[in-house]
């Protein structure tokens, strides 16, 4: 079982609200990722980080932003949520030069009304 945590697990909010999805891992992994996944569909990379103070945008355009001030913490923020942001958000991490296996958190199911 990977030690990667996401909070909240479920979030229902109104349009225009600012939200932050939390992701933390206790494995000391350098690389962390955020994916967006609609039900039954593939995962789309929206943000990733090589390490502290490193953030990059992924393949899928997203209005969210991320930060990486500490190794273990990789929060994702939406300044003004919209119904189109309704989705599942998955955080993952990987560490070491010899492994590329990504370990996933349980996800946050976001619903914007």
């Amino acid at each position: 079982e990977a030690d990667i945590y996401q909070t909240p697990r479920y979030l229902v909010i109104g349009t225009g609200k600012k939200i932050t999805l939390e992701c933390s891992q206790t494995m000391g992994h350098d690389k962390m990722y955020w994916y967006q996944q609609d039900p039954g569909m593939e995962l789309h990379l929206i943000h990733y980080s090589y390490g502290v103070n490193s953030t990059e945008k992924g393949d899928l355009s997203s209005e969210s932003t991320v930060s990486r001030i500490r190794t273990e913490h990789f929060p994702l923020t939406l300044e003004s949520a919209r119904p189109s942001h309704t989705s599942q958000y998955l955080c993952a991490s990987t560490g070491g030069w010899s492994t590329d296996t990504q370990y996933f958190g349980p996800g946050t199911r976001l619903t914007v009304l």
Partner: protein
């Protein structure tokens, strides 16, 4: 992104039978492949991986086969159990070590096990 996909979106098997889930990829430079299992409401869980210098790898009740000639990956589950019911994703890695080691995911196959 890379073209990583699965041939069948759904697969139904009887408990105790063997399951085979297939995946095709398009990038011949991919050197690492992973199978994930995702149960409803949960994040993907690592099942088994294989590097491109191998063509077969076995785990507990699972076997992954890699055919680089036709860019095909398969996951075999022996004696399928109800607890195996989930969506299965294959993912490929293009670039490792000093690069990020991006993973590209396919659409997933929903495996349903009936008694």
């Amino acid at each position: 992104g890379e073209n990583v996909g699965l041939h069948l979106p759904t697969l139904s098997v009887q408990e105790g039978d063997n399951s085979i889930i297939n995946c095709a990829y398009s990038n011949s430079a991919s050197d690492y492949f992973i199978w994930y299992k995702q149960e409803s409401g949960k994040g993907p869980q690592f099942i088994i991986d294989i590097r491109s210098n191998m063509d077969k790898r076995q785990g507990q009740r699972v076997t992954v086969l890699l055919n680089k000639t036709v860019k095909h990956l398969s996951l075999q589950i022996a004696a399928t159990q109800p607890g195996d019911s989930a969506v299965y994703f294959c993912a490929e890695n293009v670039g490792r070590g000093s690069t990020l080691g991006r993973l590209y995911f396919g659409r997933g196959t929903q495996l349903t096990v009936w008694p």
